[in-house]
Symmetry: C2
DNA sequence: GCTGAACTTGACGCCCCCGTCACCTTCTGG
DNA sequence: CCAGAAGGTGACGGGGGCGTCAAGTTCAGC
Protein backbone atom coordinates (compact mmCIF):
# COMPACT_ATOMS: atom_id res chain seq x y z
CA UNK A 1 0.00 0.00 0.00
CA UNK A 2 1.22 3.44 -0.76
CA UNK A 3 -1.43 5.69 0.67
CA UNK A 4 -2.15 4.85 4.26
CA UNK A 5 -0.46 3.27 7.20
CA UNK A 6 1.36 0.64 5.18
CA UNK A 7 0.03 -2.65 6.49
CA UNK A 8 2.17 -4.52 8.99
CA UNK A 9 5.15 -2.15 9.01
CA UNK A 10 8.05 -3.11 11.26
CA UNK A 11 7.64 -0.63 14.09
CA UNK A 12 11.37 -0.23 14.67
CA UNK A 13 12.87 3.25 14.96
CA UNK A 14 14.68 3.69 11.69
CA UNK A 15 17.76 5.76 11.16
CA UNK A 16 17.59 8.91 9.08
CA UNK A 17 19.27 7.10 6.21
CA UNK A 18 16.66 4.38 6.10
CA UNK A 19 13.81 6.81 6.43
CA UNK A 20 15.01 8.82 3.44
CA UNK A 21 15.24 5.67 1.43
CA UNK A 22 11.68 4.76 2.19
CA UNK A 23 10.52 8.29 1.47
CA UNK A 24 12.32 8.39 -1.86
CA UNK A 25 10.95 5.09 -2.96
CA UNK A 26 7.47 6.13 -1.99
CA UNK A 27 7.84 9.48 -3.70
CA UNK A 28 8.80 7.74 -6.92
CA UNK A 29 5.90 5.34 -6.68
CA UNK A 30 3.43 8.12 -5.98
CA UNK A 31 4.69 10.26 -8.82
CA UNK A 32 4.67 7.30 -11.18
CA UNK A 33 1.14 6.40 -10.24
CA UNK A 34 -0.01 9.92 -11.05
CA UNK A 35 1.88 10.06 -14.32
CA UNK A 36 0.69 6.64 -15.46
CA UNK A 37 -2.86 7.65 -14.63
CA UNK A 38 -2.60 10.97 -16.40
CA UNK A 39 -0.82 10.22 -19.65
CA UNK A 40 -0.69 6.45 -19.66
CA UNK A 41 2.22 4.11 -19.09
CA UNK A 42 3.29 4.03 -22.71
CA UNK A 43 3.63 7.76 -23.11
CA UNK A 44 5.26 8.25 -19.71
CA UNK A 45 9.03 8.72 -19.43
CA UNK A 46 11.32 8.20 -16.50
CA UNK A 47 11.85 11.96 -16.58
CA UNK A 48 8.15 12.61 -16.21
CA UNK A 49 8.19 10.54 -13.06
CA UNK A 50 11.30 12.19 -11.68
CA UNK A 51 9.81 15.62 -12.34
CA UNK A 52 6.98 14.65 -10.04
CA UNK A 53 9.46 14.27 -7.18
CA UNK A 54 12.22 16.54 -5.92
CA UNK A 55 14.86 13.99 -6.75
CA UNK A 56 17.49 13.97 -9.46
CA UNK A 57 17.42 11.73 -12.48
CA UNK A 58 20.24 9.54 -11.23
CA UNK A 59 18.47 8.84 -8.00
CA UNK A 60 15.62 7.18 -9.81
CA UNK A 61 18.01 4.52 -11.05
CA UNK A 62 19.13 3.76 -7.52
CA UNK A 63 15.64 2.53 -6.83
CA UNK A 64 14.34 1.08 -10.07
CA UNK A 65 16.08 -0.03 -13.26
CA UNK A 66 13.35 1.38 -15.52
CA UNK A 67 9.75 2.52 -15.62
CA UNK A 68 8.42 -0.96 -16.12
CA UNK A 69 9.68 -2.10 -12.73
CA UNK A 70 7.94 0.86 -11.17
CA UNK A 71 4.67 -0.31 -12.64
CA UNK A 72 5.44 -3.80 -11.44
CA UNK A 73 6.03 -2.55 -7.90
CA UNK A 74 2.86 -0.52 -8.05
CA UNK A 75 0.89 -3.59 -9.06
CA UNK A 76 2.38 -5.74 -6.36
CA UNK A 77 1.62 -3.18 -3.70
CA UNK A 78 -1.96 -2.60 -4.71
CA UNK A 79 -3.59 -4.85 -7.24
CA UNK A 80 -2.30 -7.87 -5.37
CA UNK A 81 -3.76 -6.58 -2.15
CA UNK A 82 -7.10 -5.91 -3.84
CA UNK A 83 -7.25 -9.40 -5.20
CA UNK A 84 -6.58 -10.97 -1.85
CA UNK A 85 -9.20 -8.85 -0.17
CA UNK A 86 -11.87 -9.61 -2.70
CA UNK A 87 -11.18 -13.29 -2.61
CA UNK A 88 -11.19 -13.42 1.16
CA UNK A 89 -14.49 -11.56 1.36
CA UNK A 90 -15.99 -13.84 -1.22
CA UNK A 91 -14.89 -17.05 0.45
CA UNK A 92 -16.20 -16.05 3.82
CA UNK A 93 -19.73 -16.13 2.42
CA UNK A 94 -21.58 -19.40 2.90
CA UNK A 95 -24.43 -18.75 0.51
CA UNK A 96 -24.47 -17.87 -3.14
CA UNK A 97 -25.84 -14.47 -2.20
CA UNK A 98 -23.06 -13.73 0.20
CA UNK A 99 -20.44 -15.10 -2.15
CA UNK A 100 -21.47 -12.66 -4.83
CA UNK A 101 -22.40 -9.66 -2.76
CA UNK A 102 -19.42 -9.65 -0.40
CA UNK A 103 -16.97 -10.07 -3.22
CA UNK A 104 -18.34 -7.15 -5.18
CA UNK A 105 -18.62 -5.04 -2.08
CA UNK A 106 -14.99 -5.61 -1.21
CA UNK A 107 -13.99 -4.64 -4.71
CA UNK A 108 -15.97 -1.41 -4.79
CA UNK A 109 -14.78 -0.48 -1.32
CA UNK A 110 -11.24 -0.95 -2.46
CA UNK A 111 -11.75 1.30 -5.44
CA UNK A 112 -12.99 4.06 -3.20
CA UNK A 113 -10.27 3.59 -0.65
CA UNK A 114 -7.55 4.17 -3.20
CA UNK A 115 -9.02 6.02 -6.15
CA UNK A 116 -5.63 7.16 -7.39
CA UNK A 117 -4.53 3.59 -7.90
CA UNK A 118 -7.90 2.71 -9.35
CA UNK A 119 -7.61 5.41 -11.96
CA UNK A 120 -4.12 4.30 -12.82
CA UNK A 121 -5.23 0.70 -13.18
CA UNK A 122 -8.22 1.40 -15.36
CA UNK A 123 -6.28 3.79 -17.56
CA UNK A 124 -3.64 1.17 -18.18
CA UNK A 125 -5.61 -2.04 -18.04
CA UNK A 126 -4.93 -2.90 -21.65
CA UNK A 127 -1.22 -2.28 -21.31
CA UNK A 128 -0.96 -4.24 -18.09
CA UNK A 129 -2.78 -7.11 -19.68
CA UNK A 130 -0.45 -7.10 -22.63
CA UNK A 131 2.67 -6.69 -20.53
CA UNK A 132 2.47 -9.20 -17.74
CA UNK A 133 1.31 -12.75 -17.58
CA UNK A 134 0.13 -12.42 -14.01
CA UNK A 135 -1.73 -9.19 -14.53
CA UNK A 136 -4.00 -8.48 -11.62
CA UNK A 137 -7.15 -8.76 -13.61
CA UNK A 138 -6.41 -11.94 -15.46
CA UNK A 139 -5.23 -13.58 -12.27
CA UNK A 140 -8.33 -12.30 -10.53
CA UNK A 141 -10.53 -13.79 -13.22
CA UNK A 142 -8.80 -17.11 -12.87
CA UNK A 143 -9.28 -17.16 -9.13
CA UNK A 144 -12.92 -16.34 -9.60
CA UNK A 145 -13.27 -19.12 -12.13
CA UNK A 146 -11.84 -21.56 -9.63
CA UNK A 147 -14.11 -20.38 -6.89
CA UNK A 148 -17.14 -20.60 -9.14
CA UNK A 149 -16.19 -24.08 -10.17
CA UNK A 150 -15.87 -25.06 -6.54
CA UNK A 151 -19.28 -23.57 -5.85
CA UNK A 152 -20.80 -25.60 -8.65
CA UNK A 153 -19.11 -28.75 -7.40
CA UNK A 154 -20.41 -28.07 -3.90
CA UNK A 155 -23.94 -27.71 -5.24
CA UNK A 156 -24.10 -24.09 -4.16
CA UNK A 157 -24.35 -22.84 -7.72
CA UNK A 158 -26.17 -24.38 -10.67
CA UNK A 159 -24.25 -25.50 -13.74
CA UNK A 160 -22.87 -22.67 -15.86
CA UNK A 161 -20.18 -21.65 -18.29
CA UNK A 162 -18.00 -20.68 -15.35
CA UNK A 163 -15.19 -19.26 -17.43
CA UNK A 164 -17.35 -16.75 -19.24
CA UNK A 165 -19.36 -16.17 -16.09
CA UNK A 166 -16.20 -15.15 -14.29
CA UNK A 167 -15.18 -12.94 -17.18
CA UNK A 168 -18.61 -11.32 -17.11
CA UNK A 169 -18.37 -10.64 -13.41
CA UNK A 170 -14.96 -9.09 -13.73
CA UNK A 171 -15.95 -7.05 -16.74
CA UNK A 172 -19.15 -5.82 -15.17
CA UNK A 173 -17.42 -4.91 -11.92
CA UNK A 174 -14.69 -3.11 -13.80
CA UNK A 175 -17.07 -1.07 -15.90
CA UNK A 176 -19.51 -0.29 -13.13
CA UNK A 177 -16.61 0.57 -10.85
CA UNK A 178 -15.28 3.02 -13.40
CA UNK A 179 -18.64 4.73 -13.61
CA UNK A 180 -19.00 4.76 -9.86
CA UNK A 181 -15.68 6.56 -9.52
CA UNK A 182 -16.84 9.21 -11.97
CA UNK A 183 -19.81 10.12 -9.80
CA UNK A 184 -19.51 13.16 -7.57
CA UNK A 185 -20.82 11.16 -4.65
CA UNK A 186 -19.75 7.58 -5.31
CA UNK A 187 -22.09 5.04 -3.79
CA UNK A 188 -20.58 1.58 -3.38
CA UNK A 189 -23.90 0.29 -2.09
CA UNK A 190 -25.65 1.14 -5.31
CA UNK A 191 -22.88 -0.39 -7.38
CA UNK A 192 -22.87 -3.53 -5.24
CA UNK A 193 -26.63 -3.87 -5.47
CA UNK A 194 -26.70 -3.44 -9.22
CA UNK A 195 -24.15 -6.09 -10.05
CA UNK A 196 -25.11 -8.42 -7.19
CA UNK A 197 -28.76 -8.53 -8.16
CA UNK A 198 -27.75 -9.23 -11.70
CA UNK A 199 -25.35 -12.05 -10.97
CA UNK A 200 -27.40 -13.61 -8.22
CA UNK A 201 -30.25 -13.90 -10.69
CA UNK A 202 -27.93 -15.08 -13.43
CA UNK A 203 -26.18 -17.63 -11.27
CA UNK A 204 -29.37 -18.93 -9.68
CA UNK A 205 -31.05 -19.55 -13.02
CA UNK A 206 -30.54 -22.95 -14.58
CA UNK A 207 -29.08 -22.79 -18.02
CA UNK A 208 -31.50 -22.57 -20.93
CA UNK B 1 -13.76 -0.15 -42.88
CA UNK B 2 -10.20 -0.98 -43.67
CA UNK B 3 -10.25 -4.71 -44.23
CA UNK B 4 -12.85 -5.67 -46.77
CA UNK B 5 -14.70 -4.09 -49.61
CA UNK B 6 -15.21 -0.76 -47.95
CA UNK B 7 -18.92 -0.29 -47.68
CA UNK B 8 -20.58 1.87 -50.36
CA UNK B 9 -17.50 2.79 -52.33
CA UNK B 10 -18.06 5.01 -55.36
CA UNK B 11 -17.53 2.55 -58.15
CA UNK B 12 -15.95 5.12 -60.45
CA UNK B 13 -12.74 4.31 -62.29
CA UNK B 14 -10.17 6.35 -60.44
CA UNK B 15 -7.02 7.78 -61.93
CA UNK B 16 -3.66 6.41 -60.85
CA UNK B 17 -3.12 9.48 -58.69
CA UNK B 18 -6.30 8.92 -56.74
CA UNK B 19 -5.69 5.22 -56.36
CA UNK B 20 -2.25 5.79 -54.89
CA UNK B 21 -3.72 8.25 -52.45
CA UNK B 22 -6.26 5.74 -51.25
CA UNK B 23 -3.63 3.05 -51.02
CA UNK B 24 -1.27 5.25 -49.02
CA UNK B 25 -3.96 6.29 -46.62
CA UNK B 26 -5.00 2.71 -46.13
CA UNK B 27 -1.41 1.57 -45.70
CA UNK B 28 -0.91 4.13 -42.96
CA UNK B 29 -4.09 3.13 -41.19
CA UNK B 30 -3.24 -0.56 -41.39
CA UNK B 31 0.26 -0.03 -40.09
CA UNK B 32 -0.98 2.21 -37.31
CA UNK B 33 -3.57 -0.31 -36.26
CA UNK B 34 -0.90 -2.97 -35.96
CA UNK B 35 1.50 -0.71 -34.06
CA UNK B 36 -1.15 0.55 -31.68
CA UNK B 37 -2.21 -3.03 -31.00
CA UNK B 38 1.34 -4.21 -30.47
CA UNK B 39 2.96 -1.55 -28.34
CA UNK B 40 0.04 0.67 -27.43
CA UNK B 41 -0.87 4.12 -28.66
CA UNK B 42 1.16 5.95 -26.06
CA UNK B 43 4.43 4.24 -26.82
CA UNK B 44 3.92 4.36 -30.56
CA UNK B 45 5.71 6.99 -32.65
CA UNK B 46 4.88 8.31 -36.08
CA UNK B 47 8.10 6.65 -37.22
CA UNK B 48 6.92 3.29 -35.99
CA UNK B 49 3.86 3.67 -38.14
CA UNK B 50 5.81 4.83 -41.19
CA UNK B 51 8.19 1.91 -40.85
CA UNK B 52 5.22 -0.37 -41.23
CA UNK B 53 4.63 1.05 -44.70
CA UNK B 54 7.00 1.65 -47.62
CA UNK B 55 6.42 5.36 -47.46
CA UNK B 56 8.74 8.16 -46.38
CA UNK B 57 8.32 10.14 -43.20
CA UNK B 58 7.18 13.25 -44.97
CA UNK B 59 4.42 11.40 -46.76
CA UNK B 60 2.76 10.57 -43.50
CA UNK B 61 2.23 14.25 -42.85
CA UNK B 62 0.49 14.64 -46.20
CA UNK B 63 -2.25 12.42 -44.84
CA UNK B 64 -2.43 13.05 -41.12
CA UNK B 65 -1.15 15.85 -38.91
CA UNK B 66 -0.12 13.50 -36.09
CA UNK B 67 -0.63 10.05 -34.65
CA UNK B 68 -3.70 11.07 -32.74
CA UNK B 69 -5.65 11.81 -35.90
CA UNK B 70 -4.75 8.40 -37.19
CA UNK B 71 -6.33 6.86 -34.12
CA UNK B 72 -9.32 9.10 -34.60
CA UNK B 73 -9.70 7.95 -38.21
CA UNK B 74 -9.34 4.35 -37.13
CA UNK B 75 -12.10 4.78 -34.59
CA UNK B 76 -14.44 6.46 -37.02
CA UNK B 77 -13.96 3.74 -39.57
CA UNK B 78 -14.51 0.86 -37.22
CA UNK B 79 -15.78 1.47 -33.73
CA UNK B 80 -18.51 3.69 -35.09
CA UNK B 81 -19.57 1.00 -37.49
CA UNK B 82 -19.62 -1.59 -34.70
CA UNK B 83 -21.82 0.59 -32.56
CA UNK B 84 -24.32 1.13 -35.31
CA UNK B 85 -24.49 -2.54 -36.09
CA UNK B 86 -25.00 -3.59 -32.50
CA UNK B 87 -27.66 -1.02 -31.94
CA UNK B 88 -29.50 -1.93 -35.11
CA UNK B 89 -29.47 -5.61 -34.25
CA UNK B 90 -30.70 -4.87 -30.78
CA UNK B 91 -33.54 -2.65 -31.87
CA UNK B 92 -34.84 -5.12 -34.38
CA UNK B 93 -35.68 -7.51 -31.56
CA UNK B 94 -39.24 -7.28 -30.25
CA UNK B 95 -38.79 -9.28 -27.08
CA UNK B 96 -36.42 -8.85 -24.19
CA UNK B 97 -34.73 -12.06 -25.22
CA UNK B 98 -34.12 -10.89 -28.74
CA UNK B 99 -33.04 -7.46 -27.60
CA UNK B 100 -30.31 -8.95 -25.47
CA UNK B 101 -29.29 -11.88 -27.61
CA UNK B 102 -29.15 -10.14 -30.98
CA UNK B 103 -27.19 -7.24 -29.61
CA UNK B 104 -24.53 -9.44 -28.07
CA UNK B 105 -24.42 -11.63 -31.12
CA UNK B 106 -23.81 -8.66 -33.38
CA UNK B 107 -21.01 -7.51 -31.11
CA UNK B 108 -19.22 -10.85 -30.98
CA UNK B 109 -19.62 -11.32 -34.71
CA UNK B 110 -18.04 -7.97 -35.26
CA UNK B 111 -15.07 -8.87 -33.07
CA UNK B 112 -14.44 -11.96 -35.14
CA UNK B 113 -14.88 -10.20 -38.42
CA UNK B 114 -12.13 -7.74 -37.67
CA UNK B 115 -9.91 -9.17 -34.96
CA UNK B 116 -7.06 -6.81 -35.75
CA UNK B 117 -9.18 -3.82 -34.90
CA UNK B 118 -10.58 -5.60 -31.90
CA UNK B 119 -7.12 -6.19 -30.51
CA UNK B 120 -6.20 -2.60 -31.09
CA UNK B 121 -9.31 -1.39 -29.36
CA UNK B 122 -8.99 -3.56 -26.30
CA UNK B 123 -5.30 -2.81 -25.95
CA UNK B 124 -6.02 0.92 -25.97
CA UNK B 125 -9.41 1.12 -24.37
CA UNK B 126 -8.15 3.09 -21.40
CA UNK B 127 -6.30 5.56 -23.56
CA UNK B 128 -9.21 6.03 -25.91
CA UNK B 129 -11.51 6.62 -22.99
CA UNK B 130 -9.19 9.22 -21.56
CA UNK B 131 -8.55 10.90 -24.85
CA UNK B 132 -11.90 11.42 -26.49
CA UNK B 133 -15.21 12.49 -25.17
CA UNK B 134 -17.12 10.46 -27.69
CA UNK B 135 -15.11 7.32 -27.18
CA UNK B 136 -16.81 4.40 -28.89
CA UNK B 137 -17.38 2.49 -25.72
CA UNK B 138 -18.73 5.28 -23.60
CA UNK B 139 -21.05 6.32 -26.39
CA UNK B 140 -22.06 2.70 -26.80
CA UNK B 141 -22.89 2.48 -23.13
CA UNK B 142 -24.99 5.61 -23.35
CA UNK B 143 -26.94 4.30 -26.28
CA UNK B 144 -27.57 1.08 -24.43
CA UNK B 145 -28.73 2.99 -21.40
CA UNK B 146 -31.25 4.85 -23.54
CA UNK B 147 -32.49 1.67 -25.13
CA UNK B 148 -32.86 -0.01 -21.77
CA UNK B 149 -34.75 2.95 -20.43
CA UNK B 150 -37.04 2.79 -23.42
CA UNK B 151 -37.59 -0.91 -22.81
CA UNK B 152 -38.50 -0.25 -19.20
CA UNK B 153 -40.88 2.52 -20.23
CA UNK B 154 -42.50 0.21 -22.76
CA UNK B 155 -43.02 -2.42 -20.08
CA UNK B 156 -40.73 -4.85 -21.87
CA UNK B 157 -38.20 -4.84 -19.05
CA UNK B 158 -38.79 -4.65 -15.30
CA UNK B 159 -37.48 -1.71 -13.32
CA UNK B 160 -33.69 -1.66 -12.88
CA UNK B 161 -30.68 0.53 -12.34
CA UNK B 162 -30.41 0.97 -16.08
CA UNK B 163 -27.20 2.92 -15.98
CA UNK B 164 -25.24 0.30 -14.11
CA UNK B 165 -27.06 -2.42 -15.99
CA UNK B 166 -25.80 -0.96 -19.25
CA UNK B 167 -22.31 -0.64 -17.82
CA UNK B 168 -22.45 -4.29 -16.74
CA UNK B 169 -23.53 -5.42 -20.16
CA UNK B 170 -20.77 -3.49 -21.86
CA UNK B 171 -18.17 -4.64 -19.38
CA UNK B 172 -19.23 -8.26 -19.56
CA UNK B 173 -19.30 -8.23 -23.36
CA UNK B 174 -15.90 -6.58 -23.48
CA UNK B 175 -14.29 -9.07 -21.14
CA UNK B 176 -15.95 -12.15 -22.57
CA UNK B 177 -15.14 -10.91 -26.06
CA UNK B 178 -11.49 -10.56 -25.16
CA UNK B 179 -11.41 -14.12 -23.87
CA UNK B 180 -13.26 -15.38 -26.90
CA UNK B 181 -10.66 -13.86 -29.18
CA UNK B 182 -7.89 -15.62 -27.27
CA UNK B 183 -9.37 -19.03 -27.97
CA UNK B 184 -7.87 -21.04 -30.80
CA UNK B 185 -11.34 -21.73 -32.14
CA UNK B 186 -13.43 -18.71 -31.13
CA UNK B 187 -17.09 -19.56 -30.70
CA UNK B 188 -19.38 -16.54 -30.83
CA UNK B 189 -22.36 -18.77 -30.07
CA UNK B 190 -20.90 -19.81 -26.75
CA UNK B 191 -20.04 -16.22 -25.87
CA UNK B 192 -23.49 -15.02 -26.87
CA UNK B 193 -25.18 -17.76 -24.87
CA UNK B 194 -23.14 -17.09 -21.76
CA UNK B 195 -23.82 -13.38 -21.54
CA UNK B 196 -27.35 -13.58 -22.92
CA UNK B 197 -28.48 -16.17 -20.39
CA UNK B 198 -26.99 -14.06 -17.67
CA UNK B 199 -28.59 -10.79 -18.66
CA UNK B 200 -31.92 -12.24 -19.64
CA UNK B 201 -32.16 -13.70 -16.15
CA UNK B 202 -30.88 -10.51 -14.58
CA UNK B 203 -33.19 -8.26 -16.56
CA UNK B 204 -36.23 -10.48 -16.09
CA UNK B 205 -35.85 -10.61 -12.33
CA UNK B 206 -37.64 -7.95 -10.35
CA UNK B 207 -35.34 -5.94 -8.12
CA UNK B 208 -34.76 -7.21 -4.59
C1' DG C 1 34.66 14.88 16.05
C1' DC C 2 36.17 12.13 12.22
C1' DT C 3 36.20 8.82 8.62
C1' DG C 4 34.53 6.03 5.19
C1' DA C 5 30.58 4.06 3.21
C1' DA C 6 26.14 5.15 1.32
C1' DC C 7 23.68 7.96 -1.21
C1' DT C 8 22.48 12.00 -4.29
C1' DT C 9 23.34 14.89 -8.04
C1' DG C 10 23.12 16.68 -12.78
C1' DA C 11 25.93 17.10 -16.82
C1' DC C 12 27.27 14.11 -20.58
C1' DG C 13 27.27 11.22 -24.89
C1' DC C 14 24.38 8.74 -27.51
C1' DC C 15 20.24 7.97 -29.72
C1' DC C 16 15.79 8.76 -31.71
C1' DC C 17 11.69 11.49 -32.64
C1' DC C 18 9.38 15.58 -34.29
C1' DG C 19 7.62 18.36 -38.24
C1' DT C 20 9.47 20.79 -42.22
C1' DC C 21 10.92 21.89 -46.78
C1' DA C 22 13.68 22.15 -50.97
C1' DC C 23 14.16 18.99 -54.38
C1' DC C 24 12.71 15.32 -57.34
C1' DT C 25 9.41 12.10 -59.58
C1' DT C 26 5.03 11.05 -61.53
C1' DC C 27 0.69 11.82 -63.34
C1' DT C 28 -2.98 14.66 -65.72
C1' DG C 29 -5.05 17.56 -68.99
C1' DG C 30 -4.44 19.67 -73.11
C1' DC D 1 4.20 14.65 -76.17
C1' DC D 2 4.64 18.43 -73.00
C1' DA D 3 4.09 21.60 -69.16
C1' DG D 4 2.84 22.18 -64.82
C1' DA D 5 0.63 20.69 -60.73
C1' DA D 6 0.32 17.13 -57.33
C1' DG D 7 2.52 14.45 -54.49
C1' DG D 8 6.66 11.73 -52.56
C1' DT D 9 11.19 11.98 -50.41
C1' DG D 10 14.58 12.07 -46.77
C1' DA D 11 18.01 15.08 -44.73
C1' DC D 12 17.94 18.61 -41.30
C1' DG D 13 17.71 21.54 -36.93
C1' DG D 14 15.73 21.44 -32.60
C1' DG D 15 14.27 18.95 -28.76
C1' DG D 16 14.32 15.58 -25.42
C1' DG D 17 14.83 10.87 -23.38
C1' DC D 18 18.07 7.24 -21.96
C1' DG D 19 21.32 5.32 -18.55
C1' DT D 20 25.93 6.53 -16.60
C1' DC D 21 29.37 8.26 -13.62
C1' DA D 22 32.66 11.39 -11.42
C1' DA D 23 32.16 14.61 -7.98
C1' DG D 24 29.95 16.16 -3.97
C1' DT D 25 27.11 15.55 0.28
C1' DT D 26 25.35 13.23 4.36
C1' DC D 27 24.94 9.98 7.73
C1' DA D 28 26.43 5.90 11.06
C1' DG D 29 29.50 4.16 14.00
C1' DC D 30 33.44 4.58 16.45
Amino acid sequence: MIAGAGGAAPEVELGRRERTKQANRTAILLAARAVFADIGFGAATVRDIVRGTDLATGTFYNYFPDKESVLRALLEDTAGEARVRVRTARRDGATLEAFVRDGFRAYFDFLLEDPATSRMLSRNAGTIRAMFDEPSMVAGTEELTEDLRAGVAAGLIPQHDVEYMAASMVGAAFEVGARMLEAEQPDPGRATDAVSDLFIAGLSARRT
